[in-house]
């Protein structure tokens, strides 16, 4: 269906600015497109409107303080980023938190993934004209934010696990809350899927739009749902299991064509699988037991001890002033975040602050392919593709 007239001179093309405050660009993405009528001949994405210097900040913050930065990276799923950071630092230090902490972190990760996919798909549907889905899905997200609020004290920026485990145990009715959420969650996903699966308008806007081949996707550094939509069954949770993913059973949904439609439904199915994982975790996790490593050089001693024992007070003081101190060395630890492989590359010089932090953000590399996948599409498809790639500026620009 190519009707682009390639004989047009360059000077006859129209240049338009798209963003950075266009509603569909999430406020921070900027695209300069060369248009041939309604078709995109060429485009240049401009990023950096939300560059907040997080890697530089990393060199000036202690390991546990850096959690405040990871919170604000992919702000649709803060728990995933935080757990990723803690995993990386734990790897650097060679410590393993007790099983209960691992199980709880797994649950938190999956809850965060559901939050991410709900908002992403909701907005994607909203952008192509299906407003109802957005409100339904946001409702589910609100339930999850409530659970997180109960668990950690904050709705969004939770700063929650610590290096070496959890700072405090779960609230008493955590399991009931999550079960209640799951009960309401499945019908909503089914319903939203029914609403869109054979919807003529939705199909027209998404099928075959923004497709990318397997090989190109891998070369562009795609990971996560966008890669799986191209038909590659690659999931870090399966390939290099971390946390408790080797003890639970779940499927890795894949698409076929790597277009917007596939990406949408891969995310939907993934959210369902996440719910399945949570169910199993609730069954399998131990109800009792410590939630952090038993080492006061890593985790703050309990307050009663600090008040009563000299030694605990010294540990408390040292940990607050100096922070945790990993040995010199460097590690790279990746985890399957909402958008793909989120990796932290940490170089430590043995002091309480990292020497260098590099965040490998999934969006960054996915977005670098944007020019290629929108070339030849209509200007209105730009929005559909952008939504389905789930570009989060906080993670993109860091």
């Amino acid at each position: 269906m190519q009707i682009t007239d390639d004989t047009l001179e360059d000077s006859q093309l129209m240049t338009i600015n798209f963003g950075p405050t266009h509603p569909a660009t999430h406020g921070t993405l900027h695209l300069i497109a060369r248009l041939d009528g309604e078709r995109i001949r060429d485009a240049e994405p401009i990023i950096g409107y939300l560059h907040r210097g997080k890697e530089k900040m990393g060199e000036h913050l202690k390991y546990n303080q850096y959690l405040t930065m990871t919170d604000r990276m992919n702000y649709l799923s803060p728990a995933l980023n935080n757990v990723g950071w803690c995993l990386a630092v734990e790897k650097l230090m060679g410590i393993t938190p007790p099983p209960r902490a691992r199980w709880v972190e797994t649950i938190a990760c999956e809850m965060a993934r559901i939050m991410d996919h709900m908002v992403c798909n909701g907005i994607n549907a909203f952008d192509v004209g299906a407003g109802t889905v957005f409100f339904y899905m946001f409702q589910q997200r609100e339930v999850l934010t409530d659970i997180f609020e109960k668990m950690t004290g904050a709705r969004l920026t939770i700063t929650w696990p610590r290096v070496g485990g959890l700072p405090y145990d779960l609230p008493a009715d955590f399991k009931d809350d999550v079960r209640k959420f799951l009960k309401g969650f499945y019908p909503i996903v089914d319903e939203c899927e029914k609403l869109l699966k054979n919807n003529r308008i939705f199909l027209d806007r998404t099928v075959g739009v923004g497709a990318i081949s397997k090989e190109r996707a891998i070369s562009y550094g795609y990971t996560g749902p966008c890669l799986r939509a191209c038909g590659v069954s690659y999931d870090l949770r399966k390939r290099e299991p971390y946390l408790c993913y080797d003890q639970v059973d779940f499927d890795v949904p894949t698409g076929e064509h790597g277009d917007c439609y596939d990406r949408f439904f891969v995310r939907m199915e993934e959210a369902r699988q996440s719910a399945r994982i949570i169910e199993q975790c609730l069954e399998k996790m131990p109800d009792e037991g410590p939630v952090a490593v038993d080492d006061y050089r890593v985790i703050l001693p309990p307050k009663e001890k600090v008040y009563k024992e000299m030694e605990a007070m010294i540990f408390h003081f040292k940990l607050v002033i100096d922070g945790v101190k990993p040995p010199p060395g460097e590690v790279y630890q990746g985890l399957e975040a909402g958008n793909g492989e989120l990796g932290f590359y940490i170089v430590s010089d043995g002091s309480g602050k990292p020497y260098r932090v590099k965040v490998r953000s999934p969006c960054y590399y996915i977005y670098s392919s944007y020019t290629e996948i929108i070339r030849g599409l209509m200007i209105s498809d730009v929005v559909a593709v952008l939504g389905s790639l789930n570009i989060i500026a906080g993670e993109l620009d860091r």
Partner: protein
């Protein structure tokens, strides 16, 4: 408002300014300048659970010419600052500005080379909302405060522009 009924219930007298302000405050059209994490909380405020429509502000406009309330939700970096300034200048009078969150108010936790340390360095701000991110309730509270300002005909944009902030040609 000083409303008075005369001649049965057919005529009402009031001050014109009061009536206009009352209409204006009940139908503020916000421009959501959401750049970062606070933008998500702003979205929650607009979405099903908190629902800004209850205050007559569900008609979000992404064209500055149609909006009269600018909600700056999120970090503003040096690269973004000229854009924000231009958007503000493009909005027509009268206009109000909410700085939502620590970043917009003062730079927040990002005291570094790229982040503007508070949008009040570039545009006048009527209302600051503390929090990182502020809860939807906090945003709604600030919104009602803005409504109070509108009703009483106050607002920084109604004062002459401070000298220190030159206008960008629109």
């Amino acid at each position: 408002m000083g409303v008075e009924l005369i001649r049965g219930d057919n005529f009402v007298t009031a001050r014109l300014a009061d009536v206009v302000n009352w209409a204006r405050k009940s139908s503020l059209w916000p421009f959501p300048f959401g750049t970062a994490c606070c933008g998500i909380e702003m979205m929650s405020t607009l979405a099903s659970r908190y629902d800004m429509a209850r205050f007559g502000a569900e008609a979000v406009r992404f064209s500055p010419r149609q909006a009269d309330l600018l909600i700056v939700a999120g970090t503003i970096c040096n690269k973004m600052a000229p854009v924000l300034k231009r958007i503000y200048d493009q909005m027509s009078q009268p206009k109000w500005v909410i700085a939502m969150g620590a970043c917009a108010s003062c730079g927040g936790i990002f005291d570094n080379y790229t982040v503007v340390q508070g949008i009040d360095q570039i545009i006048p701000v009527d209302m600051y909302v503390p929090g990182c991110p502020p809860s939807p309730q906090a945003l709604m509270y600030s919104f009602t405060k803005i409504q109070g300002l509108v009703q009483s005909g106050q607002g920084l944009s109604l004062d002459p522009m401070p000298e220190a902030v030159p206008s960008v040609p629109v």
